[in-house]
């Protein structure tokens, strides 16, 4: 539950009743799905108001996921950046350690919430899309936990390069269907999941992995992920007796970022930075920075910033991080970008790779390549911040899944 009050001119009262975050969001789906998502919204409103639902969610987060996740003072990384910064500069760095969750990332928070909602709606079959496989593993996990059949759509390109996660999903009892259409990556997996859903609306619940898609998904995913920010508020107050000066998180679809940011949006002194995947550079055609290098459009049920050409054809995204390799972004981020409340900047593959290694060596934490993008923004952001300031970085996932990609990028054969 939100820890702050909501003033009239709040940044925390979106979306409106039609699911719009300013000019973004909405429900751009085929007519077959409309009645279902209206029904989902109705059930979500009821669940949100039901203390028993909240209690079950909290209980599972505590005992199954392992929450709260620690807020950790990253002492050596703090020292490292202070040495590089001018005298008296270099903030105190904290990590919100979502990588310590069951299944190794923040994704599970949302999956727990959505499967409880699916059960509440009487749905008996679960589908999901996945890119790198993290959301697929989290979905397969909750399906195993609750005994529901699970079908995961995954682009065949991703299946080939993420074999360990494919095997994990299968061990957990999920059926993994390789998607051969389009570029055979996350976007195509989402198309295929939507095709399945439209043909099986009567019994199937679609667990969307990020704070995007048709209303009410962006709202409910944000709400389930807001446990990250709510915990952070309590933890930083306990540790420092005050609010942080800056929050930093990687943004693909943007669920870990919105989960951290949302509870702080009405604290004007807390700056927030969302880090997009700059791939080989936003000046090239190979990146995944929808806000920096895209334009507003309509895809996968919502209006948001997209990578697209002048005819509105969607262009392929690129990032070394499969979890950020998507040509869109959650609609609330598009709105926060245009309103100026959150600043978004791109970080390239090579910068993320460097931050990945630095974090391994200085903190003994192998961060996900997604989270490494957030860490890689630290040098440029912290050099001008005073020593008595506080920055919280969301370490959204662990990087064990990425060691093959990193080895490959470093020219090491395993």
């Amino acid at each position: 539950m939100p820890a702050t009050r909501t003033p009239a001119n709040s940044y925390r009262n979106q979306p409106d009743e039609r699911g719009h975050f300013g000019a973004f969001g909405g429900r751009y789906v085929a007519e077959t799905l409309m009645p279902l998502i209206l029904d989902l919204e109705k059930h979500y409103r009821a669940a949100k108001a039901d203390p028993a639902f909240q209690a079950q969610f909290d209980d599972l987060l505590e005992h199954y996921v392992g929450r709260p996740s620690p807020l950790y003072h990253a002492e050596r990384l703090t020292e490292h950046f202070r040495k590089l910064a001018p005298e008296g500069k270099g903030p105190k760095l904290y990590f919100k350690r979502e990588e310590l969750n069951h299944t190794g990332a923040h994704k599970i928070n949302n999956c727990i919430g959505q499967i409880l909602l699916a059960i509440r709606m009487g749905k008996t079959r679960i589908i999901a899309e996945t890119g790198a496989g993290q959301h697929g593993v989290a979905t397969a996990t909750v399906c195993a936990r609750f005994g529901l059949p699970c079908v995961i759509y995954m682009g065949s390109t991703d299946v080939a390069r993420q074999q360990p996660n494919v095997f994990r999903m299968k061990l957990l009892g999920a059926e993994v269907i390789p998607v051969e259409s389009g570029a055979k990556t996350l976007k195509d997996a989402m198309n295929e999941a939507l095709r399945d859903w439209v043909a099986n609306v009567h019994d199937t619940f679609y667990i969307i992995g990020t704070a995007a898609g048709p209303h009410p998904y962006p709202e409910l995913v944000r709400d389930f992920q807001s446990v990250i920010g709510n915990e952070t508020r309590e933890q930083i107050m306990r540790a420092e007796g005050r609010m942080p000066d800056m929050l930093l998180a990687a943004v693909g679809g943007g669920s870990n970022a919105i989960g951290l940011f949302h509870p702080f949006l009405d604290d004007p002194d807390v700056a927030m930075i969302g880090v997009e995947a700059g791939g080989h550079g936003v000046e090239t055609s190979e990146h995944a920075a929808s806000l920096t290098g895209g334009a507003p459009g309509i895809l996968h049920g919502n209006k948001t910033y997209l990578l697209q050409d002048e005819d509105g054809q969607i262009t392929e995204a690129h990032s070394i991080s499969a979890g950020l390799d998507y040509p869109g972004i959650g609609p609330e981020h598009s709105w926060l970008h245009e309103s100026g409340r959150v600043r978004y900047l791109p970080i390239n593959d090579d910068q993320a790779l460097e931050a990945f290694q630095l974090c391994c060596k200085l903190e003994g934490i192998i961060p996900a390549l997604e989270s490494s993008h957030a860490l890689a923004a630290l040098p440029q952001l912290t050099a001008e911040m005073d020593e008595d300031t506080i920055v919280v970085v969301n370490v959204s996932g662990r990087g064990d899944k990425d060691i093959f990609t990193v080895a490959d990028a470093l020219g090491v054969s395993l």
Partner: protein, 263 residues
């Protein structure tokens, strides 16, 4: 009387045929549809992410885009068709993003210039009508909505509000070109829809053969065939027009005579 109204005012049910713009020799294939007896043409606007379409139309979209088809080409194909066939109604069908990319006013204006009679947009439900509907209506272009088996009676008035030309009934909950709906379910849907609107109702999704088309034409105002035609374009390439014309003629005979056969 508009071209669309006239097509549904004939003394027989209408055959509505879909092909994807820029896939194969589109002009020749469109002419083959007309020569075969199609009453209404649906011209698909290719999109990179056709999430409501089955494998046949997905492949057609990719073939078209792979050849470099641009939005301007789609309107050029439509405009040239209008020159050759002044009386055959032409409807653009596709997804929201290519339609709204340059703004709905621009899109509606291009439709008027090219002689497009109506627009079917898969992913703009009535709830998001403002993105396209007002500009189409202002320009006098029909916004043709889709009703589905999941459209309950509470929603139906919203679907009908602001739509014109005809109502497209998606007979199965699913994607294009796959399974076919049971005839009695179509009959029930027709009764429900016709009680709520005076618009003609065309039934599509999964209709592939003259036999299926004939059965549906006995209860509907129109029958839509897409994937089966698009497959011919994919299979026969430059030779497709002859095959397209042959299938269209068989479908037209079945649809146009359906009620005579029944009677």
């Amino acid at each position: 009387m508009s071209r669309l109204s006239a097509a549904f005012a004939k003394d027989h049910p209408a055959l509505v045929c879909f092909i994807t713009a820029g896939d194969g020799d589109t002009a020749a294939n469109l002419d083959a549809l007309v020569a075969g007896g199609a009453d209404v043409i649906e011209l698909g606007m290719p999109f990179t992410d056709p999430m409501a379409d089955g494998p046949a139309i997905q492949a057609a979209n990719l073939r078209s885009l792979g050849k470099g088809t641009r939005t301007a080409d789609v309107f050029a194909i439509a405009g040239a068709f209008r020159q050759r066939h002044p009386d055959v109604p032409l409807v653009l069908m596709g997804y929201a993003n290519p339609m709204v990319r340059r703004g709905p006013e621009w899109f509606a204006g291009e439709c008027v210039k090219a002689g497009v009679d109506g627009v079917i947009c898969v992913d703009i439900p009535p709830e998001e009508d403002a993105d396209l509907g007002p500009d189409l209506r202002k320009a006098g272009v029909s916004f043709i909505r889709l009703a589905t088996p999941t459209t309950d009676s509470a929603r139906l008035p919203a679907v009908l509000e602001g739509s014109s030309g005809f109502l497209y009934y998606v007979s199965v909950a699913g994607i294009t070109g796959k399974q076919q709906a049971a005839l009695d379910s179509i009959q029930q849907a027709m009764d429900r829809l016709k009680a709520a609107t005076d618009l003609p109702v065309a039934v599509g999704f999964g209709v592939r053969t003259p036999e299926q088309a004939s059965a549906i034409a006995q209860v509907a105002d129109g029958v839509v065939v897409g994937s089966a035609l698009v497959e011919l374009v994919g299979k026969h390439g430059a030779e497709a027009p002859a095959a397209v014309r042959e299938l269209t003629a068989a479908l037209a005979e079945a649809v146009h005579n359906a009620r005579k056969v029944a009677a």
